[in-house]
């Protein structure tokens, strides 16, 4: 119990960010027309690619002799990049198609 409270106290700023972000996420999305559901999902998918930053940090801190960490980290960087780059490009293509549909 004490350790849990201590953990909360040392991370209070982050707990605030978490709670405010939850409400923000709900507010930002709540009035989306249903045609935009799939592009929005895809866009959000690209945004959670921020996990790539963790992969870069873990890779950059790895001991050059620790091959397990290097290999797993390398894989993580590749997968994270795929998520980010692929996510944004696919979203862009979806929205492009959407625009053309509207013109017709």
């Amino acid at each position: 119990m004490d350790t849990a409270l201590a953990f909360l106290n040392t991370h209070m700023e982050m707990v605030y960010i978490v709670i405010l972000s939850i409400f923000l996420g709900v507010e930002v999305i709540s009035r989306v027309p249903s045609v935009l559901h799939t592009p929005l999902m895809s866009g959000a998918n690209a945004i959670h690619g921020v996990v790539i930053i963790g992969a870069i940090i873990v890779m950059g801190e790895a001991d050059p002799e620790n091959y397990l960490a290097l290999i797993l980290g390398f894989l993580a960087v590749i997968l994270g990049t795929l998520n980010v780059v692929g996510g944004f490009v696919v979203t862009d293509r979806m929205l492009e198609m959407f625009k053309q549909k509207k013109k017709q």
Binding site: S34, N45, G60, T81, V89, V90, R93, L95
Partner: protein, 284 residues
């Protein structure tokens, strides 16, 4: 001067994610919103590579990092450009799975560091590592199954009492998670950790397998918000505000989006997740 630049870059990136999501939810601005978020992401990535410092030391292993970025970037662009319009939802699912796997891999490496350091790990650190591992693995396995179902290579499979098995699996997973975080495993810590990986992957498969193909977009959206939470665990792990805001934002927006998608189909989320069992007569 340069040292204080990174937090500002992270701030700008976080704001760009929020604005990007906001713009994405209106037809007129959607495409620009995507670009805004992408620009913020690029800023955050390159800021991290060149400016990130821990204990006054820059990152190293640059060749590995750039090779990874290059390989992932090229494959990502080529695959995303080539995919047929009709195959896009399954592509989104695949990319989502990659993000989940990335989060799980980060947890594995950090756990490996903790083990080899031999020191007793702080409770909070273990908690975010194990959470990131479980959620990331479930999201990865689930997304791959969703991808397979959408492109037709995996058929719906349900057997009697599957949701009971799933619930049991989830309970075992949670108990093991508590054991790992609380350090009750003693010398078996490593083994418990590996079992958690295996069970999380199994749960991801079992969770998505029985759900009908038509409901897949809803499930992908749900897994999408899972990966967001897994990314946020990484934010706690590295005290990194942009991972935290980006991850939680997607986690909450994704959850709401999932509910909205269900509503658009005139169904409830519970109905989508459990309903398939009623629909499959041969299973009952």
């Amino acid at each position: 001067m340069l040292d204080s630049l990174l937090p500002i870059i992270y701030l700008v990136a976080s704001v760009s994610f929020i604005i990007g999501l906001k713009m994405l939810s209106a037809p007129a601005t959607a495409r620009r919103g995507n670009l805004v978020a992408a620009a913020g992401m690029a800023l955050a990535i390159f800021g991290t590579i060149f400016l990130y410092k821990k204990n006054g030391e820059h990152l190293h292993n640059y060749p590995w990092i750039f090779a990874g970025l290059l390989v992932g970037g090229i494959i990502g662009v080529v695959v995303a450009r080539k995919v047929k319009m009709t195959a896009m939802p399954e592509m989104v699912s695949m990319f989502n799975g990659m993000g989940g796997a990335c989060a799980a891999l980060i947890s594995m490496i950090e756990f490996n560091y903790l083990q080899s350091s031999g020191q007793e790990a702080p409770l909070g650190l273990l908690l975010v590592i194990v959470l990131g591992l479980i959620i990331g693995s479930v999201s990865f396995a689930g997304s791959v199954i969703a991808w397979g179902k959408l492109n037709g290579s995996i058929k719906d499979k349900a057997f009697a009492g599957q949701h009971i098995v799933n619930i049991l699996l989830l309970i075992v997973l949670l108990v093991l998670g508590v054991i790992a975080v609380g350090g009750f495993a003693g010398n078996w810590q490593q083994e418990v950790f590996y079992i958690i990986i295996a069970l999380s992957l199994l749960y991801g498969v079992m969770f998505v397998l029985p759900i009908g193909g038509a409901d897949m977009p809803v499930v992908i959206s749900l897994l999408n918000s899972f990966t967001g939470v897994a990314a946020a665990c990484g934010g706690f792990l590295y005290n990194n505000p942009v991972m935290l805001t980006g991850g939680i934002l997607v986690g909450s927006a994704g959850t709401i989006l999932t509910i909205l998608m269900c509503k658009a189909m005139n169904r409830s989320l519970k109905n989508v997740l459990i309903g398939s069992f009623g629909g499959n007569k041969s299973a009952g």
